[in-house]
């Protein structure tokens, strides 16, 4: 089956079985390997991407459902790594092995878009990805700092 996708603003035509998870379409057919395979059962969140601005776990999202939708992956979060979260992630030495961090960033970016001043409870609820290295305290602190930075910038 031939499916049309808009990924990071670019049109793609994909020939694949419609039941193929979007994760593997992105990684193997399109070559966007920033979106990671961690569990395949929507538990860990390493495969998080945005569809029409909403975070979804792409390992459980079939290609057929993604047809015609606007998809954003970590490679498209910003054109030049200047999303506030990306800058603060570097500044605060957040990742350890880094494998889960694309998903963390995509979950955090979706949260900030929806709630520019998230509470700790918001972070607990919406950034519930798994990180085996234990970056959780830094992820939390970095989200709060990005929120402060963004709000200060928007006020000035």
């Amino acid at each position: 089956m031939s499916v049309f996708l808009e990924i990071n603003g670019t049109a793609h035509q994909v020939e694949a079985d419609p039941s193929t998870p979007l994760l593997w379409v992105l990684r193997d057919y399109i070559g966007l390997t920033g979106t990671k395979y961690g569990c395949g059962i929507a538990q860990c969140g390493a495969c998080t991407v945005h569809i029409e601005g909403h975070p979804i776990r792409s390992c459980q999202y079939p290609l057929s459902s993604a047809a015609g939708q606007k998809i954003t992956t970590i490679e498209g979060l910003s054109p030049d790594s200047t999303h506030p979260l990306q800058k603060i992630w570097v500044d605060m030495n957040v990742p350890q092995c880094g494998y889960c961090q694309s998903g963390m960033l995509m979950a955090a970016a979706a949260l900030l878009k929806q709630k520019p001043k998230p509470t700790d409870e918001d972070i607990d609820r919406y950034v519930n990805n798994i990180c085996r290295c234990g970056t959780y305290p830094r992820v939390r602190a970095a989200i709060h700092r990005a929120a402060r930075l963004t709000n200060e910038e928007s006020q000035s």
Partner: protein, 751 residues
Amino acid sequence: MNAQPKVTRREFVVTALATTGALIIGLSEEGVAAQAQITPWDKTNPAGSLEFSPWLCIEPDDTVLVRVTTPEIGNGVMTQACAFVMEELGCSWDKIKPEFASTNRDYLNNGIYSQVQGNISYFAGRSTAENRMDTYMKVAASARERLKLAAAEQWGVKSEDIAAEEGRLIHAASKRSMRFGEALSRAARVRLEHEPRPKDRSQWTFLGKKSPGKVQIPLIVNGSAIYGMDVRLPDMVYAAVKLAPVHGGQLQSFDADRVKKMPGVLAVVAVKPNEPNASLKSPFPMGFSQAGQGVAVIAEHYWQARTGLEALHVEWNDGPGGRWKSTAQVNQALLQATQRTGGKPEKLLGDAQGAFKGNSRIVEATYHTPYCEHAAMEPLNGTALVTPDRVDVWHPSQHSQMGSFVAADEAGVSPEKVFFHQPYVGGGFGRRIFGNDVRTVVAVAKQFPGRPVHVIWSREETTRQGRYRAAMALKAKACLGTDGLPVGLIARASGGPGFSVAGLADTALMGVIPNIEVYSEVVPLHILTGPYRGPGYNSNAFMVETFIDECAHAAGRDPLEYRIKLYGKWPDTGWVKCLEEVRKKSGWGAPLPKGQGWGVGVANWGMRGKADAGTTVATVAKVEVSRDGVLKILQLDIAFDTGRIMNADAVRVELEGGTIFGLNMTLNEELTIRNGQIVEGNFDTYPMLRTADVPRSIGVHFGGLTDNPRYNEIGEPPAGSVGPAVGNAIFAAIGKRLRATPFRKEDLRWG
């Protein structure tokens, strides 16, 4: 989108080493087109560059290539290598580009890299090991002096009057300067009469003073860091693999006819890896790389291979492991072994039996810890291209040299024909050291020669085909003196093959009790084991430090004060210093409402029985247990003694991560066994802590450092002390003593 890396066919051209005085200029412009220099591919020296040593090369644009032997698993080894060079060379930080040192070059050139640290040279272990540091700093100091001499010669001035700063050579008196890159052709001809000595520690301006973040993070945050899973090569195909579900079992038969006709499927192959060739001079014994039998489906895309594999009917011969029907049966065998006498003596001191005579102050308990899986976020995977001339491997290894030997062994070629390309690693924790995963990858790829085969274990396969932390049990019995401290200890440990008494028979406890007997016994279980963030140590730390807590309560003492008295007898002052620091910083002992409690644990990884060695960590936990049995970790504080530190934030990161890892191990992790197979497969049954489950911050305190001249490891140590601290806090909160993990399976209801 990621640049597609090309397979390079050029090897390094090396004539001699800088330290003997002869130098070479980089010869080729050919390399791998990478999106950033720190992408981890073998490459030739860039055009016009000068290789001062195989460890260090400078390019005409002042880029400093630092060759790093150690895979980067997230612990910052790559960044630390750059920091050593930074201290001596006088370059600018943003011009340093690390790349992984070729194992092939090492093999061909008599161990130019691996001679430095022997069998752990290519291991992503401690970044601050003395000989590793020494090598980088000598090489960088030598390069700096050569550059200065080159500039001195050009300007007709003395080299002592030239300073190397921020990648420039500066002669202040004449206000002249040049970039490093402009001095390379002259520097290539410089002969040093004496190799310079690296700076004394008192002169350091970078090490210990600055805390650079990990150099690969800019690649991580935009998705361009290439992990093993992300390797993409021309003509690459994918394989989904399944190995015998009972470890040690054999492949009997499979019916491939239907699967072969499925879309995209190219082949269905039996995986029957070679018996390791024990005569190879590999860094670790080749037997460690033994891999199980199985099947693989090869297809144009991974999801096609995976779908095919799931449709494949396979018959297995379970072998002897099948007789272990249940976890209860395994646990019973371990516990029974602790009740016997004799076995392998691990530590014998004084007269332990005599110490118990006439002493009625006896504390006795039995402990148990289960099999645990590393569960690195990047599932097992690797890619290999087998051709008649050579074997190329792209593999997220924790030991690329071991991986190279395993690839050679499995492909049946000489190690000089293996080219091992090290990508980033999505977590290691000990799982990816010995190369059994490399063996499986090559065993599949050699059946599909001429095209790169990317072999992927599903999460479920990764979990069930682990090399786990061994299950173990311990029976401990102590008699207490009139001061309440133990005067005699009799302990008997048991475990599956691969278990160890590190953290028990080699710890400070052996130095503070005068009469000791420690014995061990191996129970012949079939489950495969391996190192897991401090082999043996984290299990023993849990058992020993829970037991010490029981002794403190039996003696009617404050558990933290008790440990200060006990470990005050040990000559390494770091133990008491850590305990005092964490007592002060945590607010230990402040009155708490009912259902809350304080607990402490202290342990050392790496001391091997010696004082002023290894890393000591003391952890204090404050917990709350609700009446209906829900546990919440309210606060965690840590003090540690590595001796000294190089990068304060890197240390802090590892202490946070290691603590959360140890917390997960203690609260959540247990692999269970049914009919010889591992039951758990994914995070729904092998749960992980998430953001909501850990304290909002973890207090990392630096006041335990003794300034003893050592820079010890920091990744493993905190994984040992946090578990007993939490268990002891639960006892303080509700009076229930937890002697086995994971705690989530315990009933904590009270009141």
